[in-house]
Structures are given as structure tokens and as C-alpha cells.
């Protein structure tokens, strides 16, 4: 007669959720077809039929298979969270802007009458940055440098002189409202292979101009669209829509608008509440989830109908966070966030902060690029406060199953709202729903439809199950 082993004699490590055993949380995905089992500490997950989930959870195969790969999974996640070097800079050559967008992360007075950096100072600063990256990055690496704002083309001479002087040393980009992007400027930027980021908040003047207007109150939609259409085939084009209460309902229509024009890549970034103007425009989280997911659904329908993708970059990044954490590109939805550790920002007076979101917060300045070595600035208290902000220290994030697919962003926004960094994301519910939506995408076999072509290139599979 066969004798079954007494359950208490099984190896302790295979007993889930107790002692040294692996820990799995169960997540309802809003679908009858699958639930997720997630090992939150390593961001491992498996999607299972609900009626089989308990068998897997309490059986032997999953815990054993997971334990065999746990160290590899942990190491991979640890690298992306703590092992990357700074390799990108937001460079704000002026505080001024010719638009008065209500949600900007720069204070209104600075945008109206703020400081400019001279061409000589821009070139000097780029030299200091180039020296820093040469000393820290592997040979041949080309760090990114994005002229950001405010409106960087208000000091176009300085920007273009800097790009000319350091051609080949950086991968350059310019984030612009397009109003000053004339034919000559476009020819220069495209000849340099520079990234061009255009801000567009809606598919019509009526929607887009609610938040993006000149100081005199006029909209700039026609000009932005004109440049967008001129650059549609340019591989360095990127479109950013800032999602607010004023345009959230138009997200699906914006997808149609961009797809019709052949745009392949857009960021649909929920507005940050870093400044009072942005806080006043933060969308309701349920509405945000509803229309954001409707926009994602629409990209999928359009792909089926036309064979052409419009990748929503911030969602694609979350999918990468699930399938290949080390290959993610954006660093908002991971903790610590990328501010101060993957990238940092330089302001118009040379002040250095972890991210542009902190430019209006003097207490987060780590130093000045003209006065302090970059390496020292990155080790100052304001930087360390941001680079040590991890979900494990936050409530309720420390017990959230999707904590490494969310990252509790954004520290600047959290600080503005709570006066401290140790609070969860203001969009917490939205991020949870977004993770569940992402799991449903994967469960439905639609992962490739939402990611850039060739996303698996250079990746190495970690097979657990």
C-alpha cells in the first residue's frame, strides 16, 4: 500500500506564503478567463485559469519551478532598479515659454519672465555633461540629451550651437510646442537625426486649445498639426498628449486622429500635479481609466483594420515592465523612479535637479553644473531622497502585488500634494487598473500588438513555467 508523505514533511521552501517559501498574491483581472499569481518581490507572474489557480498555488510544480529561477528574476529586477547609470539629461535652456499651458511643471512667473542660458553657457554646460558621461559610461555609449522646457526654441541659437558643437557625442532631442519650428529649424534637426517631440493635447482645436494657449489666449492647434503632418514619416518624431480633465474624453478620438496621419508613437501622460495648475486639471481616476483603455482598445482595432500600429509608449513601457523589466525605457513606473539615477535635469541657471518635475522646487536642487561636479551633485541629499524612495517603504505600496509595475509615481507630484515623499501615487487606482488591463492584454495573446516591433531583440528568456 502506497504511503503518501505527511504534508509537514515536505521541504519548507515549497510551502507557499509561509516561512522561506515563495510568496504569491492572487489578482483578479476583471475577466472570467484568467487570474494572476504574482510574486511581488521579483515581479514574477503567471496567468492561470481561475479554476486551476488554487491547484497551482498549493501544488509542487509552481513553487519549485519558481524557486529554481528566483535568484535570476531577483537579479534582473535589482539591476533595473538599482544598477543603471545615468545616461540621459533633460536640458532646459530657458525658463520662458511663448505658451501658457495651465499644467506646466514650471511656475507661471518663470515661464513668463524667466532666465535664458546664453549660447556660450549652453555649450559650456554640454561640455561638462559630455565629460561626466565619458568618465562614467562604457566607451562608445551615446547619452541622450533632450532640450526641454518651457520652450527651448525661444533660445534656438544656443540650442543649435550646442548641438553643432557636440554632434555625435549625444543623442539629441528637442521637445517643443512646434510654434517656432520653421522650415530651417526642421531641416537642421532632421539633418542631425535629432528626436523631435511635439505636444498635442487633442484631435481638434476645441479640445487641444483648452490647455495649450498663448499668453494672449489663442490656440496653436493648426500650427502643431501642420508640423506633425510634415514630420509624420520622420523616425525621430514623438507625440506627447498630456491627459487632463479637459481632454480625457477625447483620447480615443485622438488615437484616430494620429493614426490617420501615420503617427506610430504617442505618449498619453496623465498630468502631474506638481504645480497648482496641473493639480487643478488632474482627471478623475475612473474617467482616466475608462478613456485611456478605450484609446488602447482603439489602437488595437486600428491595427486589425489597417495593419499599422500606433504604440502608446507609456502603456507599452508597462507591458515591458511585466514581460522584460530590464528592457523598459521609461522610468516613471518603477521605484526608485529614474529621476537622479537614470537621468537628471539641468535648469536655465545651471541648477541640477533629479527630474524636470523638480525644477520649480529649489529644495530639490543638488547643485549647479557650473559650480559643482556632476558626480557630486548626484550624491547630494535632495538626489538621495529621490533615488532611495522605494515602494517597500510606502504604505500601502509595500503590500501591493503590482508595486513593481507601478512604482508609486511621481515623487515630485507626491511631494507637492503631501509635503513629503513617503506617500503613494495620486493615481494609485488608475495604475492598479492599468496593470490589470496589461495582464488581460497578455492573456488575450495581444502583447505584440501593443509593443514596438522587434521588442524582443537582444533579450534573453527566463523560462519558469
Amino acid at each position: 500500500m502506497a504511503v503518501n508523505a505527511h504534508p509537514d514533511l515536505e521541504p519548507a521552501a515549497t510551502r507557499v506564503n509561509v516561512g522561506a517559501g515563495p510568496h504569491f498574491d492572487v489578482i483578479h483581472l476583471g475577466s472570467r478567463d484568467h487570474v494572476a499569481l504574482v510574486a511581488p518581490d521579483t515581479a514574477f507572474w503567471a496567468l492561470l485559469k481561475p479554476e486551476e489557480a488554487l491547484d497551482y498555488l498549493l501544488g509542487r510544480e509552481l513553487p519549485r519551478a519558481y524557486l529554481a529561477k528566483e535568484t535570476e528574476l531577483q537579479r534582473d529586477l535589482h539591476t533595473v532598479r538599482f544598477g543603471l547609470l545615468p545616461s540621459a539629461v533633460y536640458f532646459n535652456p530657458t525658463e520662458r515659454c511663448n505658451l501658457d499651458c495651465g499644467y506646466c511643471y514650471l511656475p507661471r512667473q518663470a515661464r513668463r519672465t524667466g532666465r535664458d542660458m546664453s549660447p556660450a553657457r549652453v555649450t559650456e554646460a554640454l561640455g561638462l555633461l559630455a565629460d561626466y558621461f565619458t568618465a562614467t559610461l562604457p566607451e562608445g555609449a551615446r547619452p541622450q540629451l533632450v532640450f526641454h522646457g518651457a520652450e527651448p526654441l525661444l533660445v534656438r541659437e544656443a540650442v543649435f550651437a550646442g548641438m553643432e558643437a557636440f554632434d555625435g557625442r549625444f543623442r539629441f532631442g528637442v521637445q517643443t510646442n512646434a510654434t517656432l519650428l520653421d522650415r530651417e529649424a526642421l531641416a537642421f534637426l532632421t539633418s542631425k537625426g535629432a528626436g523631435v517631440g511635439l505636444s498635442l493635447d487633442g484631435p481638434t482645436s476645441q479640445v487641444a486649445d483648452r490647455t495649450r494657449r498663448t499668453w494672449g489666449g489663442s490656440g496653436v492647434f493648426p500650427r502643431t498639426v501642420q508640423v506633425l503632418e510634415e514630420l509624420a514619416d520622420y523616425p525621430g518624431l514623438n507625440v506627447i498628449a498630456t491627459v487632463t480633465s479637459a481632454n480625457v474624453e477625447s483620447l480615443p478620438a485622438l488615437v484616430d486622429f494620429l493614426h490617420e496621419r501615420g503617427i506610430g508613437n504617442v505618449l498619453l501622460n496623465p498630468v502631474r500635479g506638481t504645480q497648482p495648475g496641473g493639480r487643478a486639471l488632474m482627471p478623475d481616476q475612473e474617467a482616466l481609466a475608462h478613456f485611456f483603455f478605450a484609446a488602447l482598445d482603439r489602437t488595437y482595432q486600428l491595427l486589425q483594420q489597417t495593419g499599422r500600429k500606433l504604440v502608446v509608449g507609456n502603456f507599452a513601457n508597462l507591458l515591458l515592465g511585466l514581460a522584460a523589466p530590464g528592457a523598459r525605457r521609461l522610468m516613471c513606473d518603477i521605484s526608485p523612479c529614474g529621476g537622479g539615477r537614470c537621468f537628471f535635469a539641468v535648469g536655465a541657471a545651471g541648477e541640477v535637479v533629479p527630474c524636470s518635475e523638480f525644477l520649480g522646487k529649489p529644495e530639490f536642487q543638488g547643485g549647479n553644473i557650473f559650480e559643482n561636479p556632476v558626480a557630486e551633485i548626484l550624491q547630494t541629499r535632495p538626489f538621495r531622497e529621490v533615488t532611495t524612495r522605494v515602494v517597500e517603504h510606502l504604505t500601502p505600496c509595500r503590500r501591493c502585488a503590482v508595486r513593481h509595475f507601478c512604482g508609486a509615481p511621481c515623487p515630485a507630484e507626491v511631494h507637492a500634494i503631501h509635503g513629503a515623499l513617503d506617500a503613494p501615487a495620486p493615481y494609485c487606482r488608475f495604475y492598479v487598473d492599468q496593470a490589470r488591463y496589461a495582464f488581460r492584454v497578455i492573456a488575450g495573446g495581444r502583447l505584440d500588438a501593443f509593443l514596438w516591433d522587434g521588442w524582443q531583440q537582444g533579450l534573453e528568456q527566463i523560462a519558469v513555467l
Binding site: 514574477f44 496567468l47 485559469k49 526641454h148 508613437n265 501622460n269 522584460a324 521609461l330 524636470s356
Partner: protein
Amino acid sequence: MEKDRNIKPISIRYACAPNGDQVGLSHYLMADAAKDREAHGR
């Protein structure tokens, strides 16, 4: 497994060695670096 099941679980995980190319910026997604290089021969 202890018993037969209809469908295998879905579990996808890839690792990526950091090379400095994959890191983007939160407000600005640099166009795919490989595509950029291809288009401009860099």
C-alpha cells in the same frame, strides 16, 4: 504537475543586459535608437 490541466499557464519573462540605450525620459520617449541609427547611418 500533480494532475493534467487543459492549458499551460501564461508566464513571459525576459532579461536584458543594461547598455545605456534602453533608458528613456519620462516626458519624452526617444525614438527607438536602432531605428534612429538605421535611418541616419549612425
